[in-house]
Amino acid sequence: MLLSKNSALESKDNEIFEVEESIAIQSELIKTMTTMVNSKAYVNERNQMVPEARCRKQANYHVEQNNKIVDEELSDWESKFFEVDMDDLHELFMAANYLEIESLLNGVTKRVGDFIKACKNVEVIRQTFGINNDFAAQQEEEIRKLNSWNHI
C-alpha cells in the first residue's frame, strides 16, 4: 500500500476524521480548501457526523475497489447504501450538496427518483414527500385535462 498524504478533517461537532487525500478530494469543496490550507481543512457543517462517516465509507470504497470490482457488485453495494429512510437520505443529500461530491449526489437523486417512480399516483407522491397541493381547483382541473392521456 502506498503511503499517501492524509488529510485531517474536522466537522462542526469537533470530530476529527483522517482521510486519504485522494478520497478527500472527491469533494470539490475540500479540494478547493486544501489547495489553500496545506493538510488540514475545517469543515463547518451542522449535524455532519453520520453523513461524514458515510461519505467517507463510500468514497473509500470507490477508490479502493475502482479497478477490481465488477459493475454488478458496485451497484448492489450502492443500492444497499441508499436504502435508507427519507431523513437519512436528506442528511446524505445535504452532505453531498455542501461537500460537492458528485457521485454521492448522483446516488441520492437517483434514489429519490426511484421513490417517485414507485408511487402509484400523484397523491401518493404528495404524501411521501409532504408536498402541499397549492393549486386552485380550476388550475388543477386544467392541468389534468391537458394531460388526460397520462391518467394523472
Partner: protein
C-alpha cells in the same frame, strides 16, 4: 424498497434548487416526469426543463389495438409533445426521441417539432414514424447533432447540402434512398461520422451505394431490399469493424480496409450461384478476425484462386445447414485451412469439415491453439475428425466439443474415446459439453 415509506409532514423536497429537481426527474421517463406537473405550483413547469425528451406513442398510451385509439386522446398526446418542444425555448434539448407507428401526425406538425429541437441545439435524434418528412426538414443541417437514428418508412430525401459537422452515429432503419447522389451527399456531409448502421433499407433506386469515408470506424449493413441491381462500394481506411448480413448484390468494390480488425460476412442463401463474391473476400483478406455464414464459406471456396488470409487469427463458422447433406465432392473447411497460415482460434460446426486432408494444414501443425467443434455426434466419421485434430495439432491447448442435443447419452463414450486418442500436443485440454 425494504421499508415502508412514512408520510412526511415537512416538505423538504420542493425547496431544493431547480437543477436538483431536474436531476431527480431525469431518472424518470418523460411520461412519468410529466405527471409531476400536478403536484404543486412549484412542480408545474419543472418538467419543461428536462434535457431529454422521449415519446413513444404505443408505449405511453398502453394500447395494443390500433382501433382503440380515439382522436381526442391522440390530439391530447400530441399537444403534450408540442408543449415540451415548442413552448419552452430557452433551454437546450439534449435528446429528442419520438416513436409512433400510426399515421396520425401531420407532417407540418412533425417538422415543427424537429425545427424546434434543432433550434434548441439537439444532440441526439431518434425518430421512428411513418410521417413523410418534407424536404425542408432541418435534420440535415443541424450543427449540434451527434447521433441520428431514423427508422420506419422515412424516405430519405437528402438535400444537396448536407451539413452535419458533429455527427458521429448514423442509424438508418427501413429508409429509402432517392438516387445515387443522395447517398454520396450523405457521407460527404458528415465529415466526423464514426458509426453507421443500415437495416432493411430500400435500394431500389440506387445503382451505386458508395460508402467512402476517411473516419468511419464501424459499418453494419443488414438486409437491404431490392438490392440485386446495386453495386456496393466501400472505401474506408479507418474502418475497424464490418458487419454484412445480406443477399448478394450486383457487384462489390472493397478498398483501403487496412484497419479492419473484425469482419462478419453473413451472406444469406442465394438462388443463383453465378453471383461473384470474390471481391468481398479479397478486400478483407488482411483481417485478423472473421465470421462467415455457410453460404459465405461456399462462395469463398469457389474463388479461383483462393485468397490467402495472411493475418487471420480467429475464424468462426456458426452455420452449417448447407453442409448438412454433404456429398463426397463437396469442398469444405479443409480446403480453406491451407490459406490460413496464422490461424490460432477456430470454431466450427462439424459438418463444415467435409474431409480430412492428407497433407496436414500448416496452421494445424504450428499455430492452432484453441478449437471448438459444435453439433458433434458419436458417429465414426465425426469422431474421426476430432481424432485427426488431436493427432496433428502441434500446439493445441484446448479442444472443446459441444455435442448435438440428441446424443447427450453418448457423451461419456465420446469422452472416453477422445481422451484415449493419440495427441501430438501433450498439454492439450479436452472439454466435452
Amino acid at each position: 424498497m425494504a421499508e415502508q415509506v412514512k408520510m412526511e409532514e415537512i416538505d423538504r423536497i420542493s425547496d431544493l434548487h431547480d437543477s436538483i429537481l431536474i436531476h431527480i426527474l431525469s431518472f424518470l421517463s418523460t411520461k412519468e416526469a410529466i405527471k409531476t406537473s400536478v403536484l404543486s405550483t412549484r412542480w408545474r413547469y419543472l418538467f419543461d426543463l428536462l434535457p431529454n425528451i422521449d415519446f413513444d406513442l404505443e408505449e405511453d398510451l398502453c394500447r395494443k389495438n390500433i382501433k382503440s385509439y380515439s382522436t381526442d386522446v391522440i390530439e391530447n398526446y400530441m399537444c403534450s409533445v408540442d408543449k415540451m418542444l415548442l413552448f419552452c425555448n430557452t433551454t437546450n434539448v439534449n435528446k429528442f426521441g419520438f416513436k409512433c407507428w400510426i399515421r396520425m401526425i401531420g407532417s407540418d406538425r412533425f417538422n415543427g417539432w424537429i425545427s424546434a429541437a434543432v433550434d434548441r441545439g439537439v444532440k441526439h435524434l431518434d425518430l421512428s414514424t411513418s410521417v413523410l418528412p418534407s424536404s425542408t426538414l432541418p435534420i440535415f443541417t443541424c450543427k449540434t447533432l451527434v447521433s441520428l437514428k431514423l427508422g420506419k418508412y422515412f424516405v430519405l430525401n437528402v438535400p444537396k447540402d448536407v451539413h452535419l459537422p458533429n455527427l458521429k452515429t448514423l442509424h438508418l432503419h427501413s429508409v429509402g434512398f432517392l438516387n445515387d447522389d443522395s447517398v454520396k451527399g450523405l457521407f460527404s456531409g458528415c465529415p466526423h461520422l464514426e458509426d453507421m448502421v443500415t437495416r432493411k433499407c430500400d435500394l431500389g433506386e440506387i445503382r451505386n451505394f458508395h460508402i467512402s469515408h476517411h473516419l468511419l470506424k464501424t459499418l453494419t449493413i443488414r438486409y437491404s431490399y431490392n438490392s440485386f441491381q446495386c453495386w456496393l462500394w466501400i472505401n474506408a481506411p479507418n474502418l475497424t469493424s464490418l458487419e454484412y448480413y445480406d443477399r448478394l448484390v450486383a457487384g462489390y468494390s472493397m478498398e483501403n480496409l487496412q484497419s479492419l480488425t473484425k469482419a462478419v460476412i453473413n451472406i444469406s442463401a442465394c438462388k443463383t450461384f453465378r453471383a461473384d463474391a470474390t471481391t468481398i473476400f479479397k478486400g478483407i483478406c488482411d483481417v485478423p478476425s472473421l465470421v462467415l455464414s455457410d453460404t459465405s464459406l461456399e462462395l469463398l471456396l469457389r474463388c479461383e484462386p483462393l485468397p490467402v488470409f495472411a493475418n487471420l487469427i480467429r475464424l468462426d463458422l456458426p452455420c452449417h445447414l448447407r453442409f448438412r447433406y454433404s456429398n463426397p465432392l463437396q469442398k469444405g473447411l479443409e480446403t480453406l485451412l491451407s490459406s490460413l497460415p496464422a490461424l490460432e482460434k477456430l470454431e466450427f460446426y462439424q459438418e463444415v469439415l467435409c474431409s480430412l486432408p492428407e497433407e496436414v494444414p500448416s496452421c494445424l501443425l504450428h499455430k492452432l491453439k484453441t478449437i471448438k467443434i459444435t453439433n458433434f455426434t458419436d458417429e465414426k466419421y465425426c469422431i474421426g475428425k476430432a481424432k485427426y485434430i488431436l493427432k496433428n495439432g502441434g500446439v493445441l491447448e484446448k479442444l472443446i466439443i459441444v455435442t448435438a442435443s440428441h446424443i447427450s447419452v453418448a457423451k461419456k463414450w465420446i469422452s472416453k474415446t477422445l481422451f484415449a486418442s493419440a495427441r501430438e500436443s501433450k498439454p492439450c485440454f479436452i472439454l466435452i459439453i
